[in-house]
């Protein structure tokens, strides 16, 4: 069990590195799909079975299909132009490393690995999620349905050819 987490985490990090380092957008999209599926496995390890399956169905199976279709339709170039901004590379990377170090430091201070509080465990099955969603969170649920309607109308209007 523990080994699976470290293997999958390593896969997720390698795939994320691939997302940001690949020149061709299609390879970045494929690597992002690998990251999403690896995260779904981590969710399974965290007692979130329903969210793991939703992640694969919605995120990896629908949103990323949209990305891949748009990349194919726009024929997003095989090669990307050379980065024109040296500033981003020489100043940006150390700053990002500093950001990461800060976040890790805060995490290590708050939750030292040898802390005594173990995970309480949670019921992530569909029945528990369903109860919560339709009892405590029913208002945000209905609001998201309107949000999706607005997004659908917006996407159709924005992408339509102006005749």
């Amino acid at each position: 069990m523990v080994i699976i987490f470290y293997l999958v985490a390593a896969l997720a990090i390698l795939a994320a590195l691939n997302v940001i380092l690949q020149r061709t957008p299609v390879y970045s999209a494929l690597s992002l799909i690998v990251v999403l599926c690896a995260l779904a496995v981590v969710y399974l390890l965290l007692d979130a079975q329903f969210m793991a399956v939703i992640q694969v169905i919605v995120y990896a199976g629908a949103i990323m299909v949209l990305f891949v279709l748009v990349i194919m339709l726009l024929n997003a170039g095989r090669e990307e132009p050379v980065d024109r901004s040296r500033l981003a590379r020489w100043l940006g990377v150390p700053l990002i490393v500093a950001l990461l170090a800060e976040i890790l430091f805060v995490i290590w201070r708050q939750f030292p690995p040898a802390s005594t509080t173990s995970a309480v465990g949670v019921d992530g099955g569909p029945s528990a999620i369903g109860h919560l969603l339709f009892e405590s969170y029913v208002l945000p649920f209905e609001v998201t349905s309107i949000l999706i309607l607005v997004a659908v109308v917006g996407a159709v209007v924005l992408a339509k050819k102006q005749v």
Partner: protein, 100 residues
């Protein structure tokens, strides 16, 4: 048992990678994908905390984040298609018509 800090560390690393990609890359669609990477890192943190504190509310929040990400991806890609139609280029350096 994997301690909570390891899950949060994975989330932090993915988030930092997303930020790095967002700032470094020049292709609009790749930048968008790095935004999705950041959202996923946050989702992982939510679910790790949901298990740690024993309340499934973290998972409900992840549900809403995924829904919002879907809506945002649809509208964002529609905007990118409209931009491509007008500028014929997907490089973010070429989309500078609002610069002084």
């Amino acid at each position: 048992m994997v301690p909570l800090s390891h899950y949060l560390a994975l989330s932090a690393i993915l988030f930092a990678l997303g930020v790095a990609g967002f700032l470094i890359r020049r292709n609009v669609i790749t930048i968008f994908m790095c935004i999705e990477l950041m959202l996923n890192a946050v989702n992982l943190a939510f679910i790790a905390f949901a298990r740690h504190l024993g309340r499934a509310d973290g998972q409900i929040l992840v549900f809403f984040v995924i829904v919002v990400a879907a809506a945002e991806a649809a509208v964002g890609l529609a905007i990118i298609i409209a931009l491509y139609r007008n500028h014929e280029s997907l490089s973010i350096d070429d989309l500078d018509s609002m610069k002084l």
